[in-house]
Amino acid sequence: MQTALLPKPGPYPLSNAPRAALNRLRSRQEESELRLLLSFTAYDSLDQSTANRIYLVYLILYLAVMGLGALLWMAQGGAVIFSLFPGFQAQVLAVRLSAILLLGMALFQTIHALRLSPLAFSDDDRYQLCLQPLPSVLMVLRWFLMPWLKALLPSLPLFILIGFVYAESILPAGELSSHILQYFSIGLGLGLKALPWQLLFYILAWAAGLFALQRRGRRVSWLPGMLLLALLLTAGIIIVFTPQLVLPPSIGWFLSTLLPGTPFDGRAVLALLLLIAGSFLLLAYLARQFIPLRAAEESAAETAIKELSRMGFTSAAASLKAHKRLGIARASRFSPTASGWRAYLAKAWLRTRRSFGFAQVLDLGRLGLIALGVVLAPSIWLRVLAVLFWSNALRSFALNALRTDLSQPHLSRLTPVPMRAVVLADLLIPFGLNLLSSLALVLTFTFLLPGAQTWLVLLLPGMLASIYLTSALVLLIRAKTSAVLQGTLPDPALQTTLLAALAASIPLLLVEFVPASIIPAFLASLLVPGLLWYQLL
C-alpha cells in the first residue's frame, strides 16, 4: 500500500496519461479562447439550439463577405498607389511588399520572443500545470498552435490584399467580372504562398525565444536571436534598396514561392517545407531543456494584464503594469524637507516621476490638441462642444492622484493633513503639466495661424482650473468612505463632464453674448475656480 504513495521507478513518462492530460488541458484553454472571441460577436457558445447554430453560420458568412468586401475596396486604392511607381513591375512591387511585411512581422515576433518567454502561462498555470512533471517537448509543440494562429489571423488578410492589388493592376480595368476567378486565385494564392513563410519565421522566433529563456542572464542568451534579427534586417535592406529585384538564379527559384500570379514551383515548395520541418526539429530539440516554471515567472504578469484588459478591468490592469514598470526596488527619493501638506506634494511629485512615460506624453499632447480645438473652433457652440470633450478627456489625467488617495482612507487617516490640502497637492502637478503643454501647443499654433483669436489663450488657465476643481468636487461628494472600504470608488463620468464643462464655459459664453467683455470674461475665468476652491474649503 505504501508504494502507491511514492513515484513509480523507471523513466518518465511511463504511459500516455500525462500526454492525454496535457492535450486535454490545452484543448480546453483553446476552446475557452475561441469562446471568448465568439462572445465578442454576441454568439453564445453554450447555447445548443438550432437557431444559435444558424446564427453561427450567418456570422461566418457575414464576416467573410464583409471582410472580402473591405479587401476588394482597399485593393482598388492599392492599385492606384501601385500605379504611382511606373518604373516597377506590379509583380516586383507585390513581392517586395510581401517580403517586407513578412520580415517586419518576423522581426517583431523575434524581438518579442527574446524579451519574454514565447510560451505564456497564467498564474493558475504556474501553480497547477508548471509544477507537474509533464513532457516538455510535447508541451512546447502543443502550446505552439494557438499563438501561431493568432499571429496568422491579422497577417493573412494583408497578403490576400497584396494579391488583390496585384490582380487589380494586371487585369484589364472594367472587365474584372469576367476575370473574377483569376482575380480571386491570385489574391487567395498569395495568402496561401505567404503562409509557410510566416510559419517558418514564427518557428524560428520561438526557437530563438526558447534559447534565450534557457540562458536568461547569461551573455550568449541573445546570440541566436540577434543573428536571426541581423539576417532579417539584412534581407529587408536588400529588398527595400535594390532597384530591381534581380536575384541570382541559385536563390531566385526559391524566393519565387512568393511571386503572385504564378503556379507553385514544386521544387521551391518542397525546399520550403523541408526548411519548416528542420526548424520544427530545432524547436523540439530546444524544447527538451524547457523549464515551464521559468516561462511562467516571466509571463504570468503579462498574461494577467492581457486578461484583465480584455475583460475591461482597466484599473487593475494599469496597476499590474505599474508593478512591472516600477520593478522591485528603487533608491529613496522622497524630499527630505517637505513636511505637513507638502509631504503630499512630494509624494505626488515622486508618483509623477515614477509613472511618467510615453503614454503620459501622448496624453498631454492629446489634451493640448483638444485645448487647441477650444481656441480655434469657429463658433461658440463648437467651442462649448470642444470644452465638453476637453473636460471628459481631462477627467482621468486630472484625478488620478486624488483617486489614489481617496481609495486609501486608512493611509490618509494616518496623517492630520486636511482634505483640501490633499486635493491641492494631488491636483497641482497634473494641472501644471497640463497647463504648460496646452499653452505651448496652443500658442505655437495660434501664432502660426493668422486670424486666430489669440487672446482666448488668456482664458485657458482659469478654464482648466475650473475643470480640475469641479471634477475634484464631484468626486469628493460622491466618494463615500464606507463604499471605498469595500473597494468601490465611484467614477461619476457624465456628471463630472457636464458640470466641469459648464463651469469652464462661463467665460466663453460671456465673451460671446456680452459686448466688449474680454476683461470681465478673464476675471470670470479666475472667479469660477476661486468659488469652487472656496466650496472645497
Binding site: 508593478h323 527630505p336 505637513g340 509624494k347 515622486l350 486608512h410 487617516r413
Partner: protein
Amino acid sequence: MDETAALSVKNLSKAYGSRKVLEDISFNLEPGQLAILRGPNGSGKTTLLNCISGLIMPDEGSILVAGHDLHRQDQEVRRHLVFIPDVPRFYLELTAYEHLHFIAAANDSLDGFPQRAEQLMRRFELWDARDVFPHHYSRGMRLKLGLLMGFIRPSSVLLLDEPSSAIDAAGVVLLEEELSQRKAAGQAILVSSHDLRFCQNITDKLITLHAGELEYANSTAA
C-alpha cells in the same frame, strides 16, 4: 463621557440596513492602558475599530479621542489616533522607506527621522528591504510595515486590528515589546486579536463583543 480618557466610546451603535452590527457600546481607555478586543468572527470588532478610527460613521453615539470629538474635530483626532488595519494598504509608487518618510513628514515629525526609521526597520527586520516596493513584500512583511507606519509618528491612541495574524513568532515577541514600551510612555492601545496569548502579560482590559453587543469590559490583573 470621560474627557480625561485617551479614548472614550459612548452608546455607539451601527447597522448595515436592518442588520445591527454594533449596539450601544460604551467603554473608556485611559492613557497607558492596553485593552484587548475579543469576539467571534462577525461580532463587530473590525466595524468598531473602523468607527473609532473615523473610517465609518456610526449611526448613534459619540467618540472622544484625547478629549476631541471624532466628528467635530477630525483633524485633531487624526493627530492623536493611529489605526493599523489587518491588511495594510500602500501607495503603488512609494518604496517601504518612502512610506515611513511620507507618514512622518505629513505628521510634521521629521526630527531624527532617519535614525528612528532605521532603528524601527532594523528591529522588525525590514531594513534590508527598505528600498523595495511593498507590493513585493510577503504578507507578514506588509503587516510589519503597516505597524511601523503607525509607530513612526506620534500618537495618543493606537488601534490595531489582528496585528499578530501574519507575523512570525519572533516578530510577535518584538511587537509585544514595542507595545509594552508605548504603553509605558502613556499611549492607550486597543488591539483586536483572536490570539489568547498575545499581550497577555501587559493587558489591562479585556473587551468582549458578542453579536455586536458588549458582553463585558473589565480590567484584568496584569
